[in-house]
């Protein structure tokens, strides 16, 4: 019920096409107040809206939150590996009025340790067994 109440606080907004709660964008531009230039992160996930003929969803490394001041070391295992799934914006009616939120939905990629993981042949075989049994049934 509380999730529904939070969703009810979302406001409808017009876009170039339709009116809805989530405004869709295809590019996040990251600028800097001291350095020139910008970075672009593209995200075009919809099958009927392609970016130069394909669905482009950029990869990004994200500095995880909660690191102590000055303690961040850039290393392969100190960042999160993400794929940008959606760039969107919405506004919600808060206690003090309407507030807009620009958001990025990303998938956090984690080390795969399942039965098909590299070198895990025993599990790989058992997985094949399951598939075979399913096929027989």
């Amino acid at each position: 019920m509380q999730l529904n109440a939070l969703l009810q606080s979302l406001e409808l907004r017009p876009s170039a096409q339709r009116t809805g709660h989530f405004g869709l964008f295809n590019c996040l531009i990251i600028g800097h107040s001291k350095h020139d230039g910008i970075q672009r992160v593209y995200c075009d996930p919809f099958p009927k809206k392609l970016f130069y003929g394909r669905n482009r969803q950029d990869l990004a490394l994200v500095r995880p939150p909660g690191i102590e001041p000055g303690g961040f070391v850039l290393a392969p295992d100190s960042v999160w590996y993400c794929r940008v799934l959606l760039l969107f914006s919405f506004s919600a009616m808060t206690d003090t009025g309407s507030r807009s939120f620009d958001c990025a939905l990303v998938s956090v990629m984690e080390r795969y340790e399942g039965p098909l993981a590299s070198g895990n042949y025993l599990n790989y075989l058992s997985y094949l067994t399951y598939l075979t049994n399913d096929a027989i049934k």
């Binding site: 339709r18 996040l28 800097h32 990303v106 998938s107």
Partner: protein, 369 residues
């Protein structure tokens, strides 16, 4: 004021202090309520009696010859206030209920009162309108019609909500920890609280970022360059080898991302509000209509609600959300709230993270452009 007459309403210290306040500040004190003004209304005819007598006599004694003598307006003012009190008493009478004759009396008395206002107060303001030609005074003209439509005037009175608003919204500002010297309304307190929260977030970002001269190190403890390019290999012609190889990957500049508060972000594509918009009710099956099917959309409403709960719960105090403890190690945010309409496999759910773009602390885009 000389209380020469036996007034049924006591002229106590409270009332005299009000007149002192009026004389000093030119307006009534803010703690006065509508009931207080009704109290003053009852003593108004007594207060007006011979109110200007001494001033008028003094003026007439010292007036230049040839100028007409002033007439004390106190009698007229008493007449106006008496008519007004008479009209008001009937207008607010609830028992016995007003009949058609009473409505007629209220209407005729109101018309007479407006005529008296025009003749006793013939003065105009800067806009050229009579000083008594205000919206509130004009409403006297229509009071008979309103009684005919809505019966008791209390049915259209906002005294209750007004008083409640004054007491519970405006007045409660003084009960906050801002101190009695800054008695903001609750609305102002909320705005200030939001501003404080934003300031705290900015300070927190500054603390997390450390000093602006913070050096980022690689996994061997060497400072990272602010270059846009890193090269694989060790040969000088391939680049500056002092900083080590980077597998030949084109890595974008982390110097820009070192200090979050210097980052600026914009969402682009399709105009100010985007190239399209989706309603949260219609995407629970991942169907984006003419944009096609995108399964991830099914998770979006739930993730957005949980994002608001986790990072912006203080903005939704009206929803009485469960409090989030400071130590979240043993607190399951996903279990704290349960949706009715969305059922998501928890393991799949954990794969997704929603970021406020401001929280994208470091994005190093590895694109093959």
């Amino acid at each position: 004021m000389h209380a020469a007459h036996a007034c049924l309403v006591p002229v106590n210290y409270f009332i005299t202090s009000l007149f002192s306040y009026l004389q000093k500040d030119g307006k009534p004190p803010s703690h006065l309520r509508a009931a207080d003004f009704r109290h003053f209304l009852l003593i108004l005819p007594f207060a007006l009696d011979n109110l200007f007598k001494e001033e008028v006599e003094k003026y007439n004694r010292g007036r230049v010859q040839g100028r007409p003598a002033l007439v004390d307006p106190s009698e007229e003012l008493v007449g106006v206030s008496n008519t007004f009190v008479s009209w008001y008493k009937l207008y607010r009478r609830t028992n016995p209920p007003k009949g058609p004759q009473d409505v007629h009396t209220v209407t005729s008395q109101g018309a007479r009162l407006l005529d008296m206002f025009r003749t006793v107060f013939p003065y105009r303001n800067k806009k050229g309108r009579l000083i008594m030609d205000t919206e509130k005074v004009h409403s006297i003209k229509h009071c008979g019609l309103e009684i005919g439509n809505y019966a008791n005037p209390m049915n259209t009175s906002s005294d209750g909500p007004d008083g409640g608003h004054k007491l519970w919204v405006k007045g409660q500002g003084g009960n906050t920890n801002q101190g009695p010297s800054v008695s903001f309304s609750m609305m102002q307190q909320c705005v200030h609280k939001e501003a404080s929260q934003l300031l705290c977030e900015a300070v927190q970002a500054r603390v997390e970022d450390g000093d602006t001269d913070e050096e980022w190190l690689d996994d061997k403890g060497r400072p990272l360059r602010a270059d846009r390019w890193w090269y694989a290999g060790e040969s000088p012609e391939q680049g500056n080898s002092r900083h080590g190889p980077c597998m030949g990957i084109r890595v974008n500049i982390w110097e820009r991302a070192k200090t979050r508060r210097h980052l600026e972000h914009y969402l682009e594509g399709g105009g100010v509000n985007g190239y399209d918009a989706l309603r949260h009710e219609s995407i629970l099956r991942g169907d984006a209509g003419k944009l096609g099917k995108y399964d991830i959309l099914a998770f979006l409403p739930d993730k957005v609600a949980r994002f608001l709960y986790e990072y912006h719960d203080f903005r939704f105090q009206r929803l009485d959300l469960p409090p989030i403890p400071d130590d979240r190690s043993e607190f399951d945010l996903h279990a704290a709230l349960r949706p009715d309409q969305v059922v998501v496999h928890q393991k799949l759910f954990d794969l997704f993270e929603l970021f406020d773009v401001k929280r994208l602390i470091l994005i190093i885009v590895t694109t093959c452009s």
